[in-house]
């Protein structure tokens, strides 16, 4: 890995604090209460933009994402002239409490809507939290208010901005720590939010 900084964001967790050892080796922020992934992403982007970082990688802290593949993703950003590399999983745990068929249907619905919205520019997986992007792309995406679960919003926005995106297949791993914050209620809210996003994007398009 090239010279890098790790930023650990604790979004108001109640199941333990960042240890002193961890805090000594990376930048850490503990938000006073749970603000959602959107605010955390903004905090990271703000810092990266202010300090002129070339690339930003976003990884969940529950061990699901194969971080050893980050150099490959960074290499794609540097060598292939891509703005955003999305680590698409072959299987996801996000809807693990419901029937897998329903999970696949929801993912397919998200994907189809995103593709229709962006004229096929959106990638297959618009729900993954594992991605890497350039500082410039982060700067452009940071101008929009990101929602609690911002991934579909981020990728749809990126596609509509004309950012060059590439899919990077990664294997799905079991969660090592904690449990998903996405219960049935918040999953329904997520689908609702996505539909609102789709409608607002459609309205924006018709406004010109």
């Amino acid at each position: 890995m090239p010279s890098s900084t790790i930023l650990l964001l604790d979004d108001g967790s109640t199941d333990g604090a960042i240890s002193a050892d961890t805090a000594a080796t990376c930048l850490t922020i503990r938000l006073p209460s749970n603000y959602g992934i959107g605010v955390c992403t903004h905090v990271a982007f703000d810092h990266a933009i202010a300090h002129g970082y070339d690339y930003i990688c976003r990884v969940d802290a529950d061990g699901q994402h194969p971080i050893e593949r980050l150099p490959e993703m960074l290499n794609m950003l540097a060598m292939d002239g891509v703005d955003l590399v999305v680590g698409a999983r072959t299987l996801t745990d996000e809807f693990s409490y419901v029937d897998p068929i329903l999970r696949r249907m929801v993912r397919a619905y998200f994907s189809i809507c995103a593709r229709l919205l962006t004229g096929n520019a959106a990638l297959k997986d618009v729900n993954t939290g594992f991605f890497a992007l350039t500082g410039e792309a982060a700067d452009r995406l940071n101008r929009y208010q990101l929602e609690r679960y911002p991934e579909p919003q981020l990728f749809v926005r990126a596609a509509r901005m004309g950012l060059r995106m590439k899919l990077f297949s990664v294997e799905r791993r079991d969660r090592l720590y904690g449990s998903s914050s996405l219960g049935l209620g918040s999953a329904l809210k997520m689908i609702y939010r996505f539909n609102v996003l789709v409608l607002s994007e459609v309205m924006q398009r018709s406004d010109g």
Binding site: L7, L27, T28, I29, L31, P32, Y35, V39, H42, V43, D46, H47, A50, H51, Q145
Partner: protein, 112 residues
Amino acid sequence: MIKLAIIIALALALLVLVRRRLIYVDLTFPWFLALVVLGFASVFEEFVTTVAVVVGIYFEPLSVVFISMFILLAIITTVLISLTALRRRQIDLVRHLAASELAAQERDGDES
């Protein structure tokens, strides 16, 4: 006369709440408008009748409920807009504080 007295008493109660800083003055505007409309409706009964005829309500006093529902909707919308603005400001503040803290950590790291 009693109707007018009740409206004035409600307006005064609102004024007291604002003066004691229990309610932010900007947020009381929909309440003020509600008092004006309901006061007008209570003093001029023809207004209620006219609304009932225009909207097609058979039992005329029900138009007061109809007007109240619209006022309530306006108040809820105003409160939601205010809450959203407040939430946005809070998020801006959190981002600003986080940026300051991270900048301080970066400085400390550079010094050590």
